[in-house]
Each structure stands twice: as structure tokens, then as C-alpha cells.
């Protein structure tokens, strides 16, 4: 049987919880060209659902107790909140801007969120570990050798979309209360 190009790397990366980014053209194109094969492959083999969006792809499953997506959502929410509080165009900064670990640490340690951050165990005494975990998942990419600066990848759209869904739910709730 002939397997699609980059099959081994695709399967390994996805099973390791990595987002396959469009910017990694070869991998992404191979996955997209063979999307039916891979959707069936992951569903039948592991019971995982393959999601392919315009800019990224990932595996998802109901049967997992992972906490990373929850922690990352809260982490990103804090970054968005702090950026908007500083009157920054937060979407532009998230999409194109560069962050430093010190800047992020400042946001997470702000009195508004320090308790929440500690409860969720996002920092666990070391922000770098958390950020490296995100880098391994392709949620961010370091822009210097010292791993001090980074940019978020397009995969964060998944979490921003989640915020939009939550907002719609909240607005519907408010409309129902008003009526």
C-alpha cells in the first residue's frame, strides 16, 4: 500500500498533540490533499476526530482529560485582556506582534489574575516550561535562540473563535433575560 507523503511525520505530530500549520506547506498540503484518508484513519484507529481549518489542523477527542487547552484559553484570555487594557490593538498584536517572556510574566503576575493563574497551575513556578509546551504544540514559535521572544501562530484562532462562541452565548443569554 502506498501511503501519502510525510505520512509518518504527520501521524506522529498529530498524535503528539501538535497543530499542523499551513505555514508548514509540505505537511499541511499532504494532509489536506488526503484529508478523507486521514479523517478515516484517525477515527477508525484511535477514535480521534481530525479537524482541518484554513490555517491549521489538529486532532481532537472527547475522551481525554487534557488540561492544556483550558489553561491556554485562560492564558490567552489574560493576554487579550491586558493588551486591551493597555489600549493596544490586541488582535493585531496577537496576529503579528512579538512578545517577550518578561512581558507575559508581567501580565500573569498582575494582581487581577495571579490567583487564577496559580489555581490553574499555569505557571508552576516557571513560565518558560509552559511556553515551551506551547511551542512544542505549535501554538507559538520562538523568534530568537535564547527563547526569550516569540510570536503566536495562526493556531490561536481556534481559541479566539472559542471566545467569540462564548460571547454569542452570553449575548443570547442577555437577550433572553431582557425579553
Amino acid at each position: 500500500m502506498h501511503y501519502p507523503e510525510y505520512h509518518k511525520q504527520l501521524v506522529n505530530d498529530l498524535l503528539e498533540g501538535k497543530f499542523i500549520l499551513w505555514s508548514d506547506h509540505q505537511l499541511f498540503t499532504s494532509l489536506k490533499k488526503n484529508k478523507d484518508f486521514y479523517a478515516e484513519f484517525f477515527q477508525e484507529t484511535y477514535g480521534y476526530e481530525l479537524i482541518i481549518r484554513n490555517e491549521y489542523a489538529y486532532l481532537t477527542s472527547d475522551d481525554t482529560d487534557e488540561k492544556l487547552s483550558r489553561n491556554f484559553t485562560v492564558f490567552l484570555a489574560i493576554v487579550c485582556y491586558e493588551l486591551s487594557q493597555n489600549s493596544e490593538n490586541f488582535k493585531e498584536k496577537l496576529e503579528f506582534g512579538e512578545f517577550t517572556t518578561d512581558e507575559i510574566l508581567l501580565y500573569l503576575e498582575s494582581p487581577t489574575f495571579s490567583e487564577l493563574v496559580s489555581e490553574l497551575g499555569i505557571l508552576e513556578n516557571d513560565l518558560n516550561r509552559f511556553l515551551k509546551q506551547l511551542a512544542r504544540r505549535n501554538l507559538l514559535q520562538y523568534t530568537d535562540k535564547e527563547q526569550y521572544k516569540f510570536r503566536f501562530t495562526k493556531a490561536i484562532d481556534l481559541f479566539l473563535t472559542l471566545a467569540e462562541v462564548v460571547a454569542h452565548e452570553k449575548m443570547q443569554e442577555m437577550d433572553q433575560t431582557e425579553s
Partner: protein, 401 residues
């Protein structure tokens, strides 16, 4: 006695700031001004309130309140470039009126009627152009106000307001100006332009020819104005409002997520994989165990604690861990137990600490049994270890002693 135009204009010029403020009050109140507010404003600027009525700047209503005269409000809106946002329907009506007058103009052969109709068409096109300009600029002002959020409205209201402007004003305005639509007014104007162009060269009557020339020039100006407004709507206004809407939407969600997270009500997850590979038996299974065991032994004598403090302040308190283990015996999966013990202290656990604790396996009080066919993954910060399932229990020989 009716005041002369010059007197009124002089009054407006001398009291420009007062007039500007009155216009602002009236505009925010659908052009009605409560008596007490106008009275207070007049007192502030030392202007007799009666003068405003006698110059017909305001009209006194039956209940004693005031209304800004429509002619004045239009003039001031034009002067201050501060227009009221009209419903798209009030612009759409020109579509019908221009089409009607144009049809009549094409059908009539009577010169004087042609003059009247051409004049009427010029007037309608002028008003239409002004209204398009007024509405586009008013929308732009509102979008900018929403962006700067001087009124400090919350994100939910920003989403609603931006959505409202797009749905009820921008989109209909865009539809009116969309030249792809055969019914669009701009297509009607092209026809008027072609007709006026032909007539301004062919008509014998000099006056009528001038009238068509005027009509042609007005249509040309209107087209230019429409193109400018379309550019403003499509290139600036629509993206700006869409950005305000999505940004506010995300921030609404962000606030809600943080609120729920604080209340411990975050029950969503994307359901990503945990980064573990599926449990596959390693071909070098026995070798793995050997390495693990050797590492465990090797690590034990290597615990060097300078000044009693280990790396990152971790001191391996063997007796304490051993006591916990002995209390919990039998343990079905020893390595999983080690992992869980250490993970309580540190989420991103490194292999070194794991190896050190694993050495408990070889304490004389403990008897271990390897399950040869079972193996699983320990996901450490620096390694993924494939380890066998090892059950441990109290060593009966040590108990007998």
C-alpha cells in the same frame, strides 16, 4: 418685523460657538430642545431666547419646548460637516424619483417641459449626492466614536452597535450604490449621463442645450461623489466596523471566560491529544527495563547535596518517600506511583528525579513483580519513557524478621 438675511447671518457669525452647541444639543435629541436647556444655554451666552424664535432659528412648540428649524439644521449640518444618520430608505426614495423624472424627460418633446424636467432631475441628483455624502460621513463619525469609545460603553453594546450600523446602514447603502445590481441608482445615473451627453450636443434650443449641459455635469459630479463614498464604505468603514465588532466580540468572550474561570466554572476543552504516543510495545523492551534499573542504581550514589541543598532546592528524602510507599502497599503500578508522587510537587517532572525515586524498587522491604507483557509511557518534561508495569508489595521475608 422679519429680520433681514444679513442680520441673521451676522447673528450666526457672532454667536458661532453658541449655535454650534445648540445644534449639538438638538441633534442628540432628534432636533427637539427642552425649554429649560435652551434657556440655560441662552443665559450662559447672554442671548435673548426670543431672538432665536424671531430669526426663525427655532420654532416654539405647543408645550413650550423648541425645535430647531429644519432649514437651519440642514444648513448647520452642512456648515459643521456634522450630519444626521438618515435611514437608507430616505436615500432609496431617490432611486424611484430619479427614474420617474428621467422616463418623463425621455418621453416628452415639449421644450419647456423638458427644461423643467431636466431642472427637476438636477435638483434630485443634487439632493441625492448630498445625502449620500452626509450619511457616509455620519457613519464614519459614528464608527470612529465607537472605536475611541469615549462614552465607555461595554463590549457587548459595542458588538451590537457595530452590527446594527453594518446591517441597517452600511449594507443597504452599499446595495444602493452597488453598480452590479441592474436596479441600482448608479446604473440609472449612467443612463441619465448618456442621454444628457447626447442631448447637450444635439438639441437645437440653446437654453435647453445649456440645461442638458448642466444635467450632464451634475451627473458626472454625482458619479464621482458616489465612487468616493463607495471607496470610503468598502475600504475603510466596513473593515473598521467589522474589526470593532469582532474585537469587541472576542473581548466579550474573554471577559466571560475569565469570569467563569474565576468561579471555577470552566468546563470546556478542545480535547487535544495529551502528547503521548499510543502504548506500543518497544522492540527493545528488555533493554529499556535494564537501562531504567541501571539508571536507578547509578543515580542513588550520585546524590551529592552541597551544603544540604540539591539542585532547584529538591532534596530526596528517601525515608519519607519509603514510608509513604510502605503505607500504600500493595501498589499495582510502581512507576506510575513514582510519577504521581513527584508530579504532586512538580508538574513538569524531569527524568533525573524520576530515576532517583525509582530506586525505592530495590529496597529490601519491597518485593517487585514485573508484568512482562504490559508497558506504558511516562511523559516527563525532558523524556518520554516506555516503562514496564511493575507491581510491588511488602516483602514477606523482611516481615518475618
Amino acid at each position: 418685523m422679519k429680520a433681514s438675511g444679513k442680520t441673521v447671518l451676522n447673528f450666526l457669525a457672532d454667536n458661532y460657538i453658541f449655535i454650534e452647541q445648540v445644534f449639538g444639543i438638538a441633534k442628540s435629541n432628534n432636533f427637539f430642545i427642552p425649554h429649560e436647556i435652551l434657556e440655560a444655554k441662552c443665559l450662559q451666552f447672554e442671548i435673548a431666547i426670543e431672538k432665536l424664535a424671531s430669526y426663525r432659528i427655532v420654532q416654539v412648540l405647543g408645550d413650550g419646548n423648541y425645535e430647531l428649524n429644519k432649514r437651519f439644521s440642514d444648513f448647520l449640518a452642512f456648515l459643521l460637516d456634522d450630519f444626521r444618520l438618515d435611514l437608507p430608505e430616505s436615500i432609496k426614495k431617490y432611486q424611484q424619483s430619479i427614474a420617474q423624472i428621467f422616463t418623463q424627460l425621455c418621453e416628452t418633446e415639449e421644450t419647456s417641459k423638458q427644461e423643467d424636467l431636466a431642472n427637476g432631475l438636477v435638483s434630485e441628483i443634487q439632493e441625492f449626492t448630498l445625502q449620500i455624502h452626509a450619511n457616509t460621513h455620519s457613519l464614519y463619525d459614528q464608527a470612529m466614536e465607537l472605536k475611541s469609545n469615549k462614552k465607555q460603553i461595554d463590549y457587548v453594546d459595542k458588538v451590537k452597535k457595530a452590527g446594527h450600523l453594518v446591517k441597517n446602514y452600511i449594507k443597504p447603502l452599499n446595495d444602493i450604490l452597488n453598480k452590479e445590481d441592474p436596479q441600482a441608482l448608479i446604473r440609472q445615473l449612467y443612463k441619465v449621463s448618456d442621454f444628457a451627453n447626447l442631448q447637450r450636443h444635439n438639441v437645437q434650443d440653446l437654453l435647453l442645450r445649456k440645461q442638458f449641459e448642466k444635467l450632464y455635469q451634475h451627473v458626472a459630479y454625482a458619479n464621482e461623489e458616489i465612487l468616493k463614498n463607495i471607496a470610503l464604505i468598502t475600504k475603510e468603514l466596513t473593515p473598521l466596523l467589522e474589526r470593532i465588532r469582532t474585537e469587541s466580540l472576542v473581548l466579550t468572550g474573554v471577559n466571560e471566560i475569565l469570569l467563569k474561570a474565576r468561579k471555577g466554572k470552566i468546563d470546556w476543552k478542545v480535547g487535544l491529544q495529551r502528547g503521548k504516543r499510543p502504548g506500543v510495545y518497544a522492540s527493545n523492551f528488555e533493554l529499556d527495563v535494564k537501562v531504567l534499573v541501571e539508571n536507578a542504581f547509578r543515580q542513588q550514589p550520585m546524590i551529592i547535596i552541597p551544603d544540604g541543598v540539591a539542585d532547584d532546592n529538591w532534596i530526596f528524602d528517601k525515608d519519607a518517600y519509603k514510608e509513604v510507599l510502605l503505607q500504600q502497599l500493595p501498589v499495582k503500578n510502581f512507576f506510575q506511583w513514582c510519577f504521581e508522587q513527584l508530579q504532586k510537587e512538580e508538574a513538569d517532572l524531569k527524568a533525573e528525579k524520576f530515576y532517583i525515586l525509582s530506586a525505592l524498587l530495590f529496597e529490601k522491604e519491597i518485593r517487585a513483580e514485573f508484568q512482562k507483557t504490559e508497558k506504558f509511557t511516562i511523559d516527563l518534561a525532558d523524556y518520554e519513557l516506555q516503562v514496564p508495569v511493575v507491581s510491588v508489595e511488602v516483602n514477606p521475608s523482611t516481615q518475618e524478621n
